[in-house]
Each structure stands twice: as C-alpha cells, then as structure tokens.
Amino acid sequence: MNTPTERPDGPAPLRLGIGAIGVIFFRMGLVAFGGLLLLLVLIERELVDRRPALTKRQITEAVTYTRLLPGSGGPLVVSYLGYVLRGVGGSGVATLMYLLPGIIVMTGLAVGFVALSTLPLLAPAIEGLLAAVVGIQSVYLYRFARKAIVDAVTATILVAGLGATFLLGVSAPLIVLLAGVVGVFLFTKSLGSEVADAG
C-alpha cells in the first residue's frame, strides 16, 4: 500500500519521519488563510527548497489529480502529498495537523459565540457582522453562478432544482445528486472529447 508516485525527475527524496511531517503541516495550517495558491507556495518552500522531500512535479500532480475530487482543495492536496511522503500514516498525520489550527479556532469561536452572543454590548456587533456576511456571500454567489450557469442547459438545471425544492419539497442533497447524474448523461461525451483533444 505504501507506494509513492514514481519520481523520474530528481534524486531520491529525503524520507521524513511522521513527527516531522506533522510539525511541517501544522505550521502551514496556522497560516492557511490564502487558499490553495498560498498553500502550494508554502509546500514548495518547506518540502522542495528547504528539504528535498518532494519534487515540483509531484506537487503539480497532486493539484492535477485532486482538482476533480469533491472537497476543499487545500486538504485534498495535503492528503495526496502526505501519502506520497509516507503512505497512509503520512497522509493521515499531514491532513490532521494541517486542519488542526482551524478546528481549534472554530471550536473556540463556537464556545465563545454561545457564551457571549447574549451580551448586550456584543449583540449589535454580531448584527453588523452578519449583515456584512450577506454582502460578502452575495458576491461569492455571483462569481460561482457565473462559472456554473454557462448555457441554456445549465440554466434549466438551475430552474429545475429550484422548482423541485419549492414545488415538490425534494431534499437538497437529493437535488444535487440528481443534477449530477443528469450532468453525467448530458456532459460526459463532450468533456471526454475535451480531454482527448487536450491530449
């Protein structure tokens, strides 16, 4: 099971211990505010430049082979590269330690939110914060919609999904699943030719 990707592009990699993998990815997790791009810069600095545990090609492969998977891009790349570094154990430790700072902060915020949200002084601040969330999320919605609704077919899927929610009361996960299956029937051929043309 522990079979790293072949590495024809460089010398034998430095083999890191599980502890070292944990510390490196925990430090990356502490500053993981900039999305996948920043993460890739950090990975290259820590695991290619400072210690030759990976090659640039392996990092590129990680991004390529995880971009079609469901889930957040950063943890997917971390899980992939952790496996390359040290198999299942490396992947598990890398992923856990990368996510740990965020998990701790979020859990702390939940505890604080429950405790403090009823304080008279903080309630107006939270109202203002939530109003700002509406503005920010609207922008994200617009940007995502521009990429996802590209033609009459995808617009029809959108309308059908909304109709299924309001008129038929179909559960949300089922709507997404059904839309995905419809996508498999409608788009597989054209996407397969795109991949073939790109060579």
Binding site: G71, P75, G102, I103, L109, E127, A132, V134, S138, T188
Partner: protein, 187 residues
C-alpha cells in the same frame, strides 16, 4: 453512538462528497439541511459560522466543528469534523495510489458540471435565508451593500470587511440611533 451524532456524521460526509468545486459550493446545502430541514441551528448561527470561516485558517468546511458544537457540544464538533474531512481524505489517497484512473474519468467531471447549477440554486436560497434573518433595518441593508461593494471592487480581505461590519453594528446599536432606524422585512 447516539442517533443525533450519527446523523451529524452522515450529513457532513454527504456535504463533503457533493462539494465539487470546493467547500464553499455546499454552503447552500448546509443551510438547507442544518437550518431548514433539521433545525439544528438558527439562520443567525449559520451566518455566524460562515462569517467566522473568514477569520479562521483552513478551508471553508472547517465550519463543521462550529455547527457540530452548537448541535451536540464537543462530541458534535468531533463527529461533524470527522464526517466532513474523512471521505475527501480517502479519495485523495486513492488518487495518489492505483485508483487514479477511476477518479479522473470524464463522468466525474460531468457530475460536477451537472451538480453546479443545482448548488447555485441552494446557495441563492442560503443567502436569502441569511438576509431575511440578518437585515432587520435599512442601516443593516446599507452595511450589507457596502460590504458587498467592497468585496467586489477592492482587494480588501474579508476579515477587514467583517470587522468593519461589526464596528458599524456597534455604532448602529447606540440606543439613540437604534430606535430611529426604519425596520424592514425581506419576503
């Protein structure tokens, strides 16, 4: 494991498996299930969870422990976190191993392209839900509009915009102002 914890685990695993294009794409789904269907959290708590992801390191799906904690305390936080990150972890390892050819099939990409529009619909409903519960007067609507404009037109980090919103909220909460603001209701 109590039924509620199992349900939390399963729902968050489902969210992660439908998150084609990143964690942000399933926020509408999380809202629909956690707020509307299950009643686990209120719209305001969901809004707060989303807002806090901007000031937390890591991916957007790190809102899982926040929601899990509100539902079932520390156990809920653990279970929701495991649920949302376990499947992608396994799939990523599969990609690094022999399952790569199956996980690169055009059908997977086609699934994502079909699911995308449905997710946009759910996302729209989520934003509307947050707006309904958060924008109770014209001043808060103005805060939302200004925040959206700053997000779209400037390079300001969301953390700064959220801090500005919180500050605006504090100012608007001054008793002399609060009573003077006309209330609204979004349909």
């Amino acid at each position: 494991m109590p039924a509620e914890l199992l349900d939390l685990f399963w729902q968050f695993m489902l969210f992660s498996l439908l998150a084609f294009g990143g964690g942000g794409t399933v926020l509408g789904l999380v809202d629909r299930v956690a707020v509307a269907d299950k009643g686990w959290i209120t719209p305001a708590e969901f809004s707060a969870a989303v807002g806090f992801t901007f000031i937390t390191p890591g991916p957007i799906l790190v809102l899982a422990p926040f929601v899990g904690y509100l539902v079932a305390g520390a156990a809920g936080a653990v279970v929701a976190t495991l649920g949302v990150f376990l499947a992608p972890w396994a799939l990523a390892m599969g990609s690094a191993h022999r399952l790569r050819s199956y996980l690169q099939h055009p059908r997977l990409r086609a699934f994502g392209k079909g699911a995308g529009p449905a997710i946009v619909g759910l996302f729209s409903l989520a934003v509307l839900t947050i707006a309904r519960s958060s924008l109770s007067n014209v001043a808060l609507v103005a805060v939302a509009l200004i925040a959206g404009t700053l997000m779209a037109r400037t390079k300001l980090h969301p953390i700064v915009i959220l801090a500005g919103g919180a500050l605006a909220g504090l100012v608007l909460g001054i008793p002399a102002l609060e009573g003077a603001l006309p209330e609204i209701r979004i349909p």
